[in-house]
């Protein structure tokens, strides 16, 4: 790809002249070393493909954790004009509103180190993880619709959330455009017993300690301090989201030709945002997003119960923030109303944004970047730079570099457990496979990814978190 030009130390551009069907330039954030590796992957071709979407705004973007996805690359940020552009389920991903929530405590690691093993065991007991298992909540049809339509408003009524939780969640945990009637019945059936479950694969729950503070003022404003114990929850909309995306990819595939749309990749299937199909998907996606917020909230409730059981009733966990990294939002950028698809990318509203609640208006919003298992996670802040340059977007984590099968070949279970133990990490994994496939060597280095977004001014480092316990399926 000799047409790629470097426009800044960590910014690269593929001009629209590279291919006839590109409507805008494509741009990505990466170091030179990352670029050299990327040239072997399909991810760049996928980024170029996103620049062909009707209504796409300049530029089609990818974050430094870019890697191959379905249709859109993971790490893709594609803003499309709402008026005459398209919406694409592939630009959100199968796991609608996969995201991350950070909880903060009032204690330090040293204060609870003697009870950490017990806490990890209790959390593993109380939060269903792993494959093919439902949770303790089985929703009725009416409850399912209330979750889908109301998001965290349902969670408050059902006793899983408080109003102060809601303020710390993107969109207050409810996209108002949601419509349960747009969610396919099969999706509701698939999700009926999955509320409050973590899932498997790269979904996890970590107990952490704040290892380093980079920005004392923001850390203080958000309730973070050095040595503090935090909890990170990474999960999404489970089978309900997967089924919703599956169904709408199918539906849009059948109507695209009617709208005169042809695209280089079937997984880009889309419909005009203002069309009945486009609106139906938008409302269904919003409903699935609400399900995911409720999922993370019910898990929060279970973690709080475990916390109190082991550490006593005086201790509590507050929601620091909750971000989505697979979602499509209606946002204004440079005076144009856009559908911003973020697939493996996180919103990063900077200081002063009027959609942020008061407590984040001065600081900008927190951006939560989970590391791969056993490595550091980061808390960043959204910036004015992101508002100007990247449709207010940042990275979401580290991308895979080894397939699950390859990880099983090269990673020895006993060695991995020993390494995690030697690093002082309590491990509660439901299966050896679940641990091996998520070994740190299976992923790129999150420090490099975070380094790029900090260097390019898309987000600013606030704190680094290190795991002290990992719970997964």
């Amino acid at each position: 790809m000799t047409d790629i030009r470097q426009v800044a130390p960590c910014t690269w551009e593929i001009p629209r002249t590279f291919r006839n069907d590109m409507r805008v330039n494509a741009r990505l954030y990466a170091t030179r070393a990352m670029m050299e590796h990327l040239l072997e992957e399909r991810a760049l071709e996928q980024l170029v493909n996103t620049a062909t979407l009707p209504g796409v705004q300049e530029p089609a973007l990818a974050m430094p954790d870019i890697h191959q996805g379905y249709g859109f690359p993971i790490g893709g940020v594609v803003a499309v004009r709402a008026e005459d552009g398209v919406i694409s389920p592939g630009g959100v991903g199968y796991d609608i509103n996969c995201g991350v929530r950070l909880l903060g405590s009032g204690v330090t690691h040293s204060q609870i180190s003697d009870r950490l093993a017990g806490l990890a065991t209790q959390i593993q007991r109380d939060v269903p993880t792993g494959i093919g298992r439902g949770g303790q909540i089985k929703l009725s049809d009416q409850e399912m619709d209330a979750v889908l339509n109301g998001g965290l408003r349902w969670a408050i009524e059902a006793g899983y959330a408080s109003p102060s939780d809601i303020e710390a969640v993107e969109e207050n945990g409810c996209l108002e455009v949601a419509s349960a009637s747009s969610v396919p019945e099969q999706a509701k059936k698939r999700g009926i017993d999955q509320l409050g479950t973590l899932g498997a694969g790269n979904h996890f729950l970590e107990v952490q300690r704040v290892d380093r503070i980079y920005d004392a003022e923001r850390a203080d404003a958000w309730g973070l301090f050095e040595g503090q114990v935090t909890v990170l929850i990474h999960t999404g909309s489970r089978g309900l989201g997967h089924q919703t995306c599956t169904e709408y990819v199918r539906r849009m595939d059948t109507v695209m030709a009617d709208y005169g749309i042809t695209l280089p990749d079937r997984e880009l299937s889309c419909a005009p945002f203002r069309s009945p199909e486009g609106q139906a998907y938008f409302h269904a996606m919003a409903a699935a997003a609400n399900f995911a917020w409720c999922n993370r909230q019910v898990i929060t409730h279970a973690v709080r119960e475990a916390w109190r059981r082991i550490l006593g009733n005086a201790e509590s966990l507050t929601v620091i923030y909750d971000v989505s990294h697979n979602i499509a939002k209606l946002e204004g950028h440079q005076g144009v109303l856009c559908v911003v698809h973020r697939k493996g990318a996180t919103r990063a509203f900077g200081p002063g944004h009027d959609e942020l609640p008061e407590r984040f208006r001065k600081t900008g919003q927190p951006v939560l970047i989970p590391g791969s298992m056993g490595t550091a996670s980061y808390v960043l802040a959204g910036t004015q730079g992101a508002m100007r340059e990247s449709f207010a977007s940042s990275c979401h984590g580290a991308g895979r570099q080894l397939s699950r099968r390859k990880a099983k070949e090269v990673v020895a279970y006993d060695r991995l457990r020993r390494e995690l133990h030697d690093a002082g990490i309590e491990v509660r994994a439901g299966s050896a496979k679940g641990l091996i496939e998520e070994a740190p060597e299976a992923y790129k280095a999150v420090e490099d990814v975070v380094g790029v977004v900090a260097e390019t001014g898309l987000a600013a480092k606030v704190a680094r978190l290190r795991p002290i316990a990992v719970i997964k399926g």
Binding site: G71, I74, R190, H242, Q243, D253, L402, S403
Partner: protein
């Protein structure tokens, strides 16, 4: 659901491979006929979900599956998606696939059903790198499963 006839023999004898991919699984299925191809693909997906032991399952009941789609490739995706939905929602393994009636854009099939515990998870069946083509006197399909 109806009892499985004792003289029913499965079509899915032609085989499949499950290949590693960075964040997902590539299913490569083969069949002498399109019916056998679709049956092999289903068997491959079920093997990924429930393990090779399901080849030894003796189901006691059958279910009918009807699918319609825009074209043959979409039919394969929708066929596997329907099976995935049923398997993950009802915690069942599907085996012994018999494609009774198949056209370019629709099929009617029956499959044996047994309760089983999944050993792995599939989020969705995708169109990524999807292909169905003639090969070596038969058919071959590639389907990527999002895990």
């Amino acid at each position: 659901m109806t009892p499985l006839p004792s003289d029913r023999t499965p079509d899915s004898s032609a085989g499949f491979d499950l290949l590693a991919h960075s964040g997902d699984v590539k299913l490569r299925a083969r069949g002498a006929t399109l019916e056998q191809l679709f049956a092999s693909a289903a068997q491959g997906m079920m093997t990924y979900l429930f393990g090779a032991e399901i080849a030894r399952i003796r189901p006691q009941q059958t279910e009918e599956i009807r699918v319609e789609a825009a074209d043959r490739e979409a039919l394969l995706v929708d066929w596997l998606s329907e099976l995935l939905f049923r398997a993950t929602t009802h915690y069942r393994a599907y085996v012994d696939f018999h494609i009774r009636d198949m056209e370019e854009r629709k099929l009617i099939a029956t499959a044996g059903v047994a309760s089983a515990e999944a050993i792995d998870d599939i989020k969705a069946v995708t169109h990524h790198d999807l292909s169905i083509r003639k090969r070596d006197g038969g058919w071959e399909a590639i389907v990527v499963l999002d895990i």
